[in-house]
Symmetry: C2
Subunit: 122 residues, 2 copies
């Protein structure tokens, strides 16, 4: 499929797909005229890239771990990156949970203060 179709299927922009190629994350075939041609697999790869971006991985890191997902095997170095990133996500999860609690406390206190003189404990 061509770039426009993949863009529609995945919901990412054409520009983004070209950027992914620039970074080496998703390199398609080319037609005689130079147009990009993606396989069905491309859809899943784009999803993965989005997932990893959402997890805060950089394109460089994604570039390292994508081949492992594709080939279902990893060099020791790549495996180390995978584990390190999982740990990073774990720390981030804990951090986020902490901030969530912060926010929750603020909401509890602020709302009781703003809504009325009603200082009912939970």
């Amino acid at each position: 499929m061509r770039i426009g179709e993949l863009a529609e299927k995945t919901g990412v922009s054409v520009r983004a797909l070209r950027y992914y190629e620039e970074q080496g994350m998703l390199v398609p075939e080319r037609s005689a005229g130079g147009h990009r041609h993606y396989s069905e697999r491309g859809v899943e790869v784009v999803w993965l890239i989005q997932q990893f971006y959402a997890a805060g991985l950089s394109s460089k890191t994604i570039l390292t771990i994508l081949p492992c997902v594709e080939s279902r095997e990893a060099t020791p170095e790549a495996l180390a990156v995978l584990v390190a990133e999982r740990d990073r996500i774990d720390r981030r999860l804990a951090e986020l949970a902490g901030t969530r609690k912060q926010l929750d406390d603020v909401i509890a206190i602020a709302s009781s203060g703003a809504c009325s003189h009603d200082s009912r404990p939970d």
Copy 2:
């Protein structure tokens, strides 16, 4: 305390503190000569800002919710922002957990695949 001391205490750069002021998040007193002077409370505020940044809030959003934390009360609008951001964090937590699982699966498969198939040590 002056900006350098606060920077050291909080671990953020002097430039960052000036930036926080630019954004209105942490506005210190000024000496006659124009030097910034922060109270002890400044340390905690910087920690909060960092927390919220880490949670993915923009400086503009932080600017909205910081007064609520300080005054322990919120306008209905600010409260709505607080709740919306908590929800956003909840969604992000779920998202991150999903990606973590993805990564975990990849690690499980890749490591077993790498060890059994290619069991050549260095």
